[in-house]
Amino acid sequence: MDTLIFIITAAIALIGAVAMVVARNAIHSALFLLLNFGAVAVLFLLLYSPFLFAIQLTVYAGAIMVLFLFVVMLLGAERIEDAPDQIAWQRPLGIGLGVVLMLVAMATALRASAFAPPPGGEALATFGDPAALAALLFTHYLLPFQITGIILLVAVIGVVVLNQRGRHRSEEAGREDARTRRREDARR
């Protein structure tokens, strides 16, 4: 039963990934990527980790993909791929590196006995429990966790500062513009 669901989900994930690369339209690419994320989320569910499933959906599908779609639609950049490639050697290099990566991954998979679980690989009873995960985050991984928080805070402050500066300037300019235009209108 698990194997059957795994095969279906993995096939959907692969189709989504390939279609995302092949699609010419940026919006279609983003939607195929979303399909891939959804399939990966289901794989987490198959691994008895509903917490990671929910996080994968909220963070990737809910937040990041919506942001991608928002930006692409706002800029109207969905057809930019149709233009000919600027850098000629980019494509062959990408394909070559991809093949190398696949070979390395295959070699690793074949060297280790891939189908036997690793020693001591039995899951704990609290596996995937949000409380257990949070306890780890706040004890063993406290420093990385805090640093991530500070980086995000800096990013938020940066956005506010940039937005404020940009708006002040444009608002002042806009108001002056409107005033002069109105005055000219009135004179006329």
């Binding site: 939607l31 917490f51 929910a54 779609l69 706002l74 005033r179």
Partner: protein, 444 residues
Amino acid sequence: MYDMLYNLINVVFGFNWPTWLISLIGHAAVAAILFAVAPFQMLFLTYYERRAIARMQDRVGPNRVGPEGIFQPIADGVKMFTKEDIVPKAADRWVHLIAPCVVVAPTMFMFAVVPWGPGMVPVDLNVGLLFFFAISSISAVGLMMAGWASNNKFALLGAMRSVAQMVSYEIPAILSLLAIVMITGTLSIVSIIDAQAGLFINSVDLPGVPDWGLGWFIFTPVGFLAFFCFFIAALAEGERTPFDIPEADSEIVAGYMTEYSGMKFGLFYLAQYVLNFLLCGMTAIIFFGGWQGPGVNWLYSQAISPANPEGMWLFNVLAGVLGVFYFLAKTYFFFFVMIWIRGAYPRLRVDQLMDFGWKFLIPLTLVNMLSAAIWVGLTRWGAAEGLAFIEGWSAGVRWGVAFALTLIINLATYIMMARIYAASQAARSRLELEELRDLAAMSR
């Protein structure tokens, strides 16, 4: 469900089917029931809303099809099915087709973790609450697909508005639920309901309180402020008045639904009502105890359950009926409040909506989380957590101190925030007025 089917098939009939087949049948049966229930809820809610809003506007409302117009939604459904399905020539055909499905599927999916009565939950996930909101964020993608694929400016604008609104109001909704999660210490929806037994005072906070199933979180200052913020955020998530900006028909036709007709339009409609039902249900579950009410816990303690396998099946039925009755009564009451608000308030402007969410609701919910932390510290912690001074207090005193302290904090914050916000809004409208006067003077 699984145990019941196992007993029926393998013990009573003696078929000896493998366990995976039985669990598959069980899940399929539950899924089928839910898929049948959701559209019926939507049919009933449309009728309910039309009749209630008609009363408020001194009209009669639909009263021709069937007794008191009860079959009106079915007539509307038939109309939807037989309407012509129009796809604009310049639309992206596939995305246009898939968008309604991407909007509807998550709302159906969300039913998977909603408990209807004692022991009546399709799946009791240990992250049920997170699952609910993770899934609900997917439908934003569907709205976006609909708006973009229609190749229509109004549709795209509507989609942008609705996604901006959903993303902004998800934050106060989840932050206000986080306060409750801090108090209960669990993300499972079933455990959150179980924690609301008691009589005005939670029986977890004060052991020995008579269990009338009324220990709802709404009776605590933390729960009340969380409810206030969550319900407003739910109005915005469900695109109800006064937050129905994405489909403000006087400004942008029907928003992302502009280019849809027939059953595809019907699907958007369905998704919206089902989402509203679920949000009202969530409000009832988290703050008003869900199926908790006088009598349910006593009935369920006599019934067959994992804790008491020797019970009577009759009590299962009685507890289930009473629990579902309480849950649906609360849910429909909140839907009525939504209709009531629709009848009473005008629509907000986009910038007012954003201001209200980011500058008023989010700070309020953040302070509420502080209150929740104080509540947990005073009612649950002791010397082990570094709060040695409360060791000697009795449970009643602890509860009283926590209640008073959080009440003062929340009330003071609310009054302060409301004054600051009102002052800033007044200043803003003054500026706008000046600009208008400027304009008027110029043109003269």
